[in-house]
């Protein structure tokens, strides 16, 4: 009973002030069958899926936005192609390694991170290709490494340590030169079951 009383008092005394005023990445992603994927989007991407592996279809709800995403492996690269609720092309994301950055981009990104955080560790990098009104030929050219028609940016998941010592995980966006655009904080998956 003493233990329980101690626990209750402790919980009342301390309040949760953990919600910082930062945009939160609150994304719900559900795997779906190909039949539920927008058919006009499938028609656009179909030719790229013929020799792809591990093809999976998802519906994503991010705050008020709904989108569709197909993920696959092709030519040893992991791709994710996103479409709007109406099945219109939004972007292609490709997983890349840190060493694939040019020195200039690497330097700009690390300068921003060093200036703003005590510590950082890059966990995942995706290069993002966007196009306002893509044609099928242009999309196909992207998978043949012709990226000149696309706006390029980088979506990077980074574990950081703030000045007050608190750790956090963010999704950052940097432009094609490695200049900071914005960031969203990740809500961490609960770990009670692996700690206790």
């Amino acid at each position: 009973m003493k233990l329980l009383a101690f626990l209750i008092i402790f919980l009342i005394v301390f309040s949760d002030n953990s919600i910082a005023q930062v945009s939160v990445k609150n994304e719900i992603e559900k795997q779906i069958d190909a039949e539920l994927f927008p058919q006009n989007a499938l028609a656009v991407i179909q030719s790229q899926l013929s020799n792809a592996k591990r093809i999976k279809y998802y519906i994503e709800v991010n705050n008020a936005d709904t989108s569709y995403e197909v993920k696959f492996k092709k030519n040893k690269s992991l791709y994710s192609v996103e479409f709007s609720r109406e099945g219109l092309f939004e972007d292609v994301e490709m997983l890349i390694a840190h060493k694939e950055f040019s020195n200039e981009i690497k330097s700009n990104i690390h300068k921003y991170l060093n200036d703003n955080f005590i510590k950082h560790k890059i966990k995942k990098i995706q290069v993002q290709y966007k196009h306002p009104s893509i044609t099928l030929e242009q999309l196909n050219s992207l998978f043949n490494e012709d990226t000149q028609n696309f706006n390029i940016s980088y979506e990077i998941e980074i574990a950081v340590k703030h000045e007050d010592g608190s750790p956090a995980m963010y999704e950052f966006h940097f432009d094609s030169l490695g200049q900071y655009i914005d960031k969203r904080i990740f809500k961490q998956q609960g770990d009670d079951n692996i700690l206790y």
Binding site: L7, F10, F14, E29, D191, N193, I194, L195
Partner: protein, 227 residues
């Protein structure tokens, strides 16, 4: 390539669990429900309390409450998915036999995990000082576990996840020492209000290295609440 090895790891875990269950000689069977409540205090600290009931299941016998543990722990988040913490546990052994000793346990732990795609691989190192009326034991534990959502890359509300783990334990006293292995696999569900329910089948190979070595199979059910 990593996914290839992760899949092989699961198959190995499930195979070993099946083999142990089939060949373990006269194992004891237990049901161990647990209730865990945690509260994030700020960006760094979290407190957690839990109550665990161990019940032995025997043929033609009523279910007997053998042990009850209540614990309180506090942990601090560190950089890059790691945490350090400690706590206190009170263990009441066999509540129907007051002559059996109660336990006061102090715990210290360090845990870290990393993610690859949807797979989360976790490591927990723990040391324990177990104090009884007439004896004292040290115990050192290392647990490796892997969990992943069964639908998509992120665990969303009302979705299931798979978890498998193996833990090595070393009991050390001035007179003797022995080892224990706990191999488990199970499933959990993330629910809206109570946060998480988990069911795990666990095979325990105990007192390895002593003449009294034994086997036990635990059905561990856990309710994880967040305040």
């Amino acid at each position: 390539m990593i996914i290839f090895y992760i899949k092989r790891f699961f198959i190995l875990v499930l195979f070993m669990l099946a083999v142990f269950i089939v060949y373990a000689q006269q194992p004891d069977y237990y049901w161990e429900p647990k209730l865990s409540i945690s509260k994030k205090l700020n960006n760094l600290w979290r407190i957690q309390g839990s109550v665990t009931f161990r019940q032995i299941i025997e043929n033609d016998q009523p279910v007997i409450l053998q042990k009850m543990e209540s614990a309180v722990s506090i942990d601090r988040s560190l950089f890059n998915f790691s945490k350090v913490g400690g706590g206190y546990l009170f263990g009441g052994d066999d509540l129907f036999r007051p002559e059996v000793e109660n336990e006061h346990r102090f715990m210290q732990q360090y845990a870290f995990y990393f993610k690859f795609l949807k797979y989360r691989i976790s490591n927990r190192l723990r040391s324990e000082q177990r104090i009884y009326a007439d004896t004292y034991k040290n115990r050192f534990r290392y647990r490796l576990s892997i969990d992943f959502p069964l639908n998509g890359e992120k665990l969303n509300l009302k979705e299931a996840y798979f978890i498998a783990s193996n833990e090595l334990l070393a009991n050390v006293t001035a007179k003797e020492h022995d080892f224990e292995n706990r191999l488990g696999a199970g499933m959990g569900w993330k629910l809206e209000k109570i946060n998480k329910i988990q069911l795990q089948l666990q095979y325990r190979y105990m007192k390895i290295g002593l003449p009294s070595e034994s086997h036990a199979i635990f059905l561990a059910s856990a309710f994880y609440f967040k305040l």
